[in-house]
């Protein structure tokens, strides 16, 4: 079996097991008030980290490029209470403009 097949199948099997194990943790572990509170904070942490990593890094390198403009435009759109698709589209259009013209 080739390296590519081993990687394709191995990655897929482990990816599913990782996902499924998260869904299989006993519910009673999650009913404690502290767990509930942490459960509210975790998405804030992860989503913020995802915004940062997807905006300012490429692989393991810190990069400032057209995505900074996209992020700033998205922030302005959110401050102006723009609906979600407008936020995403305005970021994409401004970022593409900077990338293509500068």
């Amino acid at each position: 079996m080739s390296t590519f097949w081993i990687t394709t199948i191995g990655t897929s099997v482990i990816a599913f097991l990782l996902k499924f194990s998260g869904h299989s943790v006993p519910q009673r572990w999650l009913s404690h008030p502290k767990i509930q509170r942490i459960n509210l904070l975790i998405p804030i942490a992860l989503l913020s980290a995802l915004v940062a990593v997807q905006s300012f890094t490429t692989k393991t390198t810190l990069v400032v490029d057209q995505r900074l403009v996209g992020l700033l435009v998205a922030t302005i759109a959110l401050l102006l209470k723009a609906p979600f698709p407008v936020v995403v589209l305005s970021a994409a259009v401004s970022s593409a403009a900077v990338y293509n013209w500068f």
Binding site: G22, H23, V88, A92
Partner: protein, 220 residues
């Protein structure tokens, strides 16, 4: 259709389309790095986790071994375990439906679902399923398109797709930043993830912020 449901569908579709379009870039990258079209499509169908898939292509493309490719991809996939822990009590599904839910548990489905919490628990579940299925359909269609048109595929940056996804995540976290405490946590975690990216292996800077949230939640 209620106002709540249409708003949730709108969020789900926006994310599904923009993220799904990334599938074309993955399909093209995979084929360009030596994967067959069948292997490329199987990665999108079975692994179904963008970061892990790109990692696999990147490692093998750079001459890495199967073991290192699988390890890197799995490290990135640990995030989905945590998402599963977060989503399980909100979805309350058993049997075959739980298997499907597990497969659809990714950044986007979890992110959109949690972004619906202001609209109530039903909207959270709808957000998860609509986004999970939507991304799955578009991701796989675009993967095939990208794999087939690998040579003709342009640069996703020219279309601003590299900015659309972080903008979507920003839009999702925004309504949760209700007070200075939440804003401080968000800025702290964003800064931590950026600073740690050159130091920690790929994927860890993101998952590590979950432990910041846990530490903060235990102390508060």
């Amino acid at each position: 259709m209620s106002k709540v449901t249409s708003a949730t569908i709108r969020d789900s579709l926006s994310v599904s389309l923009t993220v799904g379009a990334y599938g074309a870039a993955f399909g093209a990258a995979a084929v360009a790095n030596g994967f067959s079209i069948v292997q490329t499509c199987l990665l999108s169908l079975l692994t179904f986790s963008g970061a892990s898939q790109f990692a696999v292509v990147g490692v093998l493309g750079a001459g890495g071994s199967a073991i290192s490719a699988i390890a890197t991809a799995s490290l990135l996939g640990v995030r989905n375990t945590l998402y599963g822990v977060i989503m399980a009590p909100r979805l309350q599904v058993k049997g075959f439906k739980r298997i499907v839910a597990a497969q659809l548990t990714i950044d986007e489905s979890t992110g959109v679902a949690l972004g619906q919490e202001v609209r109530g628990p039903a909207a959270v579940r709808q957000g998860f399923w609509y986004t999970g299925i939507g991304v799955f359909v578009f991701w796989n269609l675009f993967t095939l398109a990208g794999a087939l048109g690998a040579q003709a595929m342009g640069d996703i940056r020219a279309f601003g797709l590299d900015s659309a996804v972080p903008a979507a995540f920003l839009g999702l976290v925004w309504p949760r930043l209700v007070a200075n405490f939440e804003r401080g946590l968000a800025i702290g975690c964003a800064a931590f993830a950026i600073v740690m990216t050159p130091i920690l292996p790929p994927g860890l800077p993101i998952i590590a912020t979950a432990f910041i949230a846990i530490a903060v939640g235990l102390r508060r």
